[in-house]
């Protein structure tokens, strides 16, 4: 009952408010959705304390969905430690975002619609994490894609918002296609799409070989690689990340929700959920690690040059997701989910804090037009510091515990891919500290660069916005300390209770016994990054320009985000339209119609004008000739074939 309430209450409030949006005042709509989410969060916590101490979960069947031959899947809720961790994280963050939105969206024309979308978004994510089979997971998966499309394009009169919304949906769909292929592969070779059956069958067929496209694959490798390609889309890993930075076209609370809890974490969750399969394929694990490390590095470099406050945080999300993935890739599944959880708190905090800044600056997002406002909005300033420190992984903030475990696990794991990940992680830690410091320095310090009219209006946000910030800050400080023992420490076996793979003596255990130098390295690097940031943006503000001037190519490369969008536009988008027009005008009109009916028509009319001067009845003649000819040909064929 708790589980059902947790998952379906947001759907109920979304439907209620969404369908009757015009009969609800903004206030009623806000109260209904916020209390719905609040209740859902409460239920998820109750569920957490019911499931986790007991050490075992359950599956709650709801109703049949579809079955076709051997392929059968039903609606059900799978409640175990992994899903309740996700449930509590998602509902808590989402609840705070809901409350914050009441203040942030107060002046918008369609508050009920916005609140309904937020709740709908949460519902799909909850369906995703409680799925007991791959199809239901895919339902939630596509559902969050849809909701993100609706929310990113919420201000639908702006062309850029529409473009970003469509882009988010389509880039995600590319990943989804591979996810689907992964599901088919698992269905045909494992014989089921139910998690329980899949995990049971997996060890016995781990060495099977299957044919896919041009070659033979190990079945585990194929299934995991395909699923991971899907995860790359949803979790914005390098190559399929391009939608995420654009997603900030949506209102800021949406960015907080997308980046913290309800969408990008889905890929990480998928890999963790399928950990019994992934551990059986070294190739897939290597791929996860390398892609994660590459994304972490790529996104961090880009974040250092962006000037839009939300875009910096967006790339930072991308980068942190990279951390989560290579944690999974080296086998530290608990650490990956741990970072997912702590990151949800501090990233939501950073985004909502940024929203508070934007609110204060009269909707300005460009950091070049900010500065000198820390005394005017001290609470927001403090919140941004807490969020940033947690992001950098400074003790005792939440990020320290999760991120350090990941880095240590990468060191402790064996194999070239984990070495790559370890060194990338160290570099990225430095970059993270650098761009975080840069963000704070540019936004809050230095001389005010906004015009006077804006500066006069700088004000602290209303309490309905600051209260969620404070609560998130509490999470960003405490989530690490409180979770450490259960997620990755000695208590982890009792805590996870088999919902993710973990064995005594595995990489998570080894991570606790790495040399002191390795333990200190991230912290030292972070401090170095902070120092560099301070030098560049506080002490010597002329330096960034000079560095950029000295390396113009590198600077433009980073500023233009490694040119992914430009390449995709040139390779996929523009050709798609061009080919479409070509097929239409040339293929359909000139070739098929030209040689087919229209051509016949011309020939007929030509012949007609030769044989007779009478020009009427052309079409019937052309029909006659065509039919006569076809009939003759087939008659001849049939006769000769059977005589």
């Amino acid at each position: 009952m708790l589980a059902v309430t947790t998952v379906f209450l947001p759907l109920l409030t979304a439907a209620l408010v969404g369908l009757l949006s015009r009969s609800f005042s903004d206030r009623v709509a806000s109260v209904v959705t916020c209390s719905g989410l609040g209740l859902s969060a409460l239920c998820s916590w109750l569920l957490f304390f019911q499931i986790v101490p007991a050490g075992e979960g359950f599956v709650l069947p709801l109703m049949t969905w579809a079955s076709s031959g051997a392929l059968a899947f039903d609606w059900a809720l799978r409640i175990d430690t992994l899903s309740v961790v996700m449930l509590t994280t998602v509902t808590t963050i989402s609840f705070l975002v809901h409350v914050y939105s009441v203040g942030y969206m107060a002046k918008d024309r369609s508050v009920p619609r916005f609140m309904a979308y937020l709740s709908l978004f949460t519902f799909f994510m909850l369906m995703l994490v409680t799925a007991d089979n791959l199809i239901q997971l895919f339902f939630g998966w596509e559902g969050v894609g849809l909701s993100s499309y609706l929310l990113i394009g919420f201000w639908f009169e702006r062309p850029s918002a529409n473009a970003a919304a469509v882009k988010a949906f389509l880039v995600n769909r590319v990943g989804d296609l591979f996810f689907l292929m992964g599901i088919f592969c698992i269905f045909w070779h494992f014989g089921s799409v139910q998690f329980a059956t899949i995990f049971e069958v997996a060890p016995s067929i781990a060495h099977h070989t299957v044919h896919f496209l041009w070659t033979d694959w190990n079945v585990m490798t194929l299934a995991c690689v395909l699923l991971f390609l899907g995860a790359m889309g949803k979790s914005a890993q390098i190559g399929l990340h391009t939608w995420l930075p654009d997603a900030m076209e949506g209102p800021t609370p949406v960015s907080a929700l997308i980046h913290a809890a309800t969408m990008v974490t889905a890929g990480v969750f998928l890999v963790a959920r399928m950990s019994p399969l992934f551990t059986l394929s070294d190739t897939a694990m290597t791929m996860v690690t390398v892609v994660g490390a590459a994304t972490a590095f790529f996104a961090a470099t880009v974040a250092c040059t962006q000037t839009d406050i939300k875009r910096v945080i967006a790339y930072s999300t991308c980068s942190q997701l990279g951390y989560m993935f290579f944690a999974l890739g080296v086998g530290a599944f608990g650490a990956g989910i741990f970072h997912l959880m702590t990151h949800a708190f501090f990233k939501a905090l950073l985004f909502l804090g940024a929203g508070s800044v934007i609110h204060a600056m009269s909707d300005e997002q460009d950091m070049r037009k900010m500065g000198g406002i820390w005394k005017l909005i001290p609470l927001t300033y403090a919140m941004m510091w807490i969020g940033s420190l947690a992001l950098m992984g400074i003790w005792p903030f939440a990020g320290y515990f999760s991120k350090d475990t990941i880095i240590e696990a990468a060191y402790a794991a064996s194999g070239w891919h984990s070495d790559v990940a370890f060194y990338a992680a160290i570099v990225v830690a430095t970059l993270t500290a650098f761009y975080s410091t840069r963000l704070i320095a540019l936004t809050f310090h230095g001389a005010p660069r906004a015009d006077e009219r804006v500066m006069d209006h700088v004000h602290e946000s209303p309490r309905v916005m600051t209260l969620p910030l404070v609560l998130l800050a509490v999470g960003a400080v405490l989530a690490g300390v409180l979770g450490y023992n259960s997620f990755v420490g000695d208590g982890r076996f009792a805590f996870w209770a088999g919902s993710i793979v973990g064995t005594p003596g595995d990489v998570t255990d080894l991570a606790h016994h790495v040399p002191l130098l390795v333990k200190l390295a991230p912290l030292v690097c972070s401090l170095f990054g902070v120092l560099a940031g301070v030098v560049f943006y506080v002490w010597k503000p002329c330096l960034p320009g000079r560095v950029a001037g000295a390396f113009p190519l590198a600077y433009r490369f980073l500023l233009n985000k490694w040119y992914f969008d430009e390449v995709y536009n040139a390779v996929f988008i523009r050709p798609a339209f061009a080919i479409g027009r070509l097929f239409w005008k040339t293929g359909d009109r000139a070739v098929i119609d030209g040689l087919g009916p229209d051509g016949l028509s011309r020939i007929t009319s030509g012949a007609a004008s030769v044989f007779s001067r009478i020009q009427n009845g052309l079409v019937s003649r052309y029909a006659f000739v065509m039919i006569f000819g076809l009939t003759g040909v087939v008659t001849w064929l049939l006769m000769t074939a059977f005589r």
Binding site: I135, L146, E157, R173, G587, V634, F642
Partner: protein, 496 residues
């Protein structure tokens, strides 16, 4: 044998309505009102009667149900034989449902020759239902061809400016296929000595003969589906046809091809079907990708949806010839889903066309502000069209792709690009029509959906979601028939 000739009554009831319409007298005003009422009453009653099939159909029964058999031409072994199985029964319901909706959709829009228009529609309904119920090849052929005539008139008389070109193109493409089917019919009669479809399904045609028969039937069905490159009549026909014509065209007529493959090609000509499966796969993949890309470039709403039909039907043909349970059940679900969804999308275009009298996408924009109900309804059908899980479109495409994956992973992957491109052209359409700002004043002043229009859309929305969330209630009908079909198909291949 059913004592009560339910199928015949459902089939011919619309003709009784035609008689009723012919009896209507009065001045122009009264005439068209009464004619509409008679037509609505007839189609509604037919639909209600067809619901008896939904409740009375025994999903566990093997073979045909509600059978009726009357001697017709005993000397030639040709009879009046009607019956439905799990493959055809839902198509009958689809036809009767969409017929009601089409009458409602034409309520205020058809002013010229309303009497003849309604007669054409009722005759069309008889032909469609009869086609899905016929169990004698000659009978089937009569209905199959009979569909052409009213449809030809609906496009040619009540269509747009280029209606004559479109009507003839439609007629010629389909007639060319039909004649080949007639030849196949004769050849099959000569070989098997009967026209009874259940008997033909158990008759073993020689392998060489199967090849030619298959090709002849293929020409006919492929035009109807339509498969690439025989699809070019469809966009023209859709663009010129009145809204209700497009609905029936997309909703039911395209399914006749898919139904033909399942009723004739696969069960009667299994060897040839297996041999030509790669050809069908190839054409299906080309249809999906080609039509999707062309849809992306369209500037006319109806053309865009017409091309999307070609793409969606590409999934259906691939699913059928995968010869797997999932592929075929998926093809059936996809056919039903596409019937509802694309029918509804054409109705949706009709809504704004009635208000602004243009189908040009660029003339619209920002409709979500001024027509929020319409935007919501259209969004639901858009989601059905792009196959979002939870809608009917997902179930069909998912099952098809999983069936095809079993047979050929390349085909599955390439079909899958259709789900990306499908989302692209549909969202791009939605963007241009519903998002942004209204380009012109008159587009901004359009009123939201009327009560009649809402009444028309609500059942369709309900079916799209119902079929997406609980598709088992539809799949249950098909299970036994599809299982038998696949078993016989595989057995025939194994015996080779």
């Amino acid at each position: 044998m059913s004592a009560f000739p339910l199928l015949s009554i459902i089939t011919f009831l619309p003709l009784v309505g035609v008689l009723g319409i012919l009896l209507v007298r009065g001045d122009q005003e009264h005439l068209s009102r009464n004619v509409r009422n008679v037509a609505l009453l007839t189609t509604t009653f037919t639909f209600l009667l067809s619901l008896a099939l939904w409740f009375g159909f025994d999903p566990a029964h093997q073979g045909f149900q509600f059978e009726e058999r009357v001697q017709w031409l005993p000397a030639y072994n040709i009879g009046y034989h009607m019956g439905v199985d799990g493959i055809s029964v839902l198509f009958v319901l689809l036809s009767t449902l969409l017929s009601v909706i089409c009458i409602v959709a034409s309520w205020n829009t058809v002013k010229e020759r309303a009497k003849e228009y309604m007669i054409a529609f009722l005759v069309l309904e008889t032909m469609m239902v009869g086609m899905f119920c016929a169990l004698d090849f000659v009978l089937f052929y009569i209905f199959f061809e009979g569909v052409l005539i009213p449809m030809f008139l609906i496009i040619g008389v009540w269509g747009g400016p280029r209606r004559v070109y479109a009507a003839f193109k439609f007629f010629l493409f389909t007639l060319a296929g039909s004649l080949l089917m007639l030849l196949a019919l004769l050849a099959m009669y000569l070989s098997a000595g009967t026209m009874d479809i259940p008997t033909l399904m158990t008759h073993h045609f020689p392998a060489a003969m199967q090849t030619w028969l298959w090709l002849a039937l293929f020409a006919s069905f492929a035009v109807k589906v339509p498969m690439w490159p025989l699809h070019t009549w469809l966009p023209d026909a859709h663009v010129e046809a009145p809204t209700a014509g497009s609905v029936i065209l997309a909703g039911v007529l395209l399914k006749m091809g898919a139904y033909g493959f399942l009723r004739f090609s696969l069960p009667m000509l299994p060897l040839a079907s297996a041999d030509f499966a790669p050809l069908v796969f190839g054409l299906s993949v080309v249809a999906v990708i080609y039509a999707s890309l062309v849809a992306l470039a369209q500037e006319d709403m109806k053309k865009l949806i017409a091309y999307s039909s070609v793409a969606h039907m590409g999934f259906v043909t691939a699913g059928i010839f995968s010869g797997t349970i999932q592929g075929i059940e998926g093809a059936l679900v996809q056919s039903l889903s596409h019937g509802i969804v694309s029918g509804a999308l054409f109705l949706g275009v009709g809504v704004v066309y009635d208000r602004l009298h243009t189908r040009e996408i660029a003339r619209y924009g920002g409709l979500s502000t001024t027509m929020p109900r319409y935007a919501l309804v259209f969004m639901v059908f858009l989601l059905g069209s792009v196959g979002l899980p939870g809608t009917s479109g997902f179930v069909g495409e998912f099952l098809i792709m999983s069936g095809v994956f079993r047979v050929n992973t390349w085909v599955a992957l390439l079909l899958g690009t259709g789900i990306i491109l499908g989302a692209a052209y549909m969202l791009y359409l939605y963007w241009r029509v519903f998002m942004g700002k209204a380009v012109r004043e008159d587009a901004r002043l359009m009123p939201d959906l009327s009560a009649r229009e809402i009444g028309m859309f609500v059942p369709l929305v309900a079916i799209v979601l119902w079929m997406g969330v609980a598709p088992d209630s539809f799949l249950d009908f098909m299970r036994v028939s599809v299982h038998d079909l696949v078993t016989n198909y595989q057995a025939a291949l194994a015996a080779r």
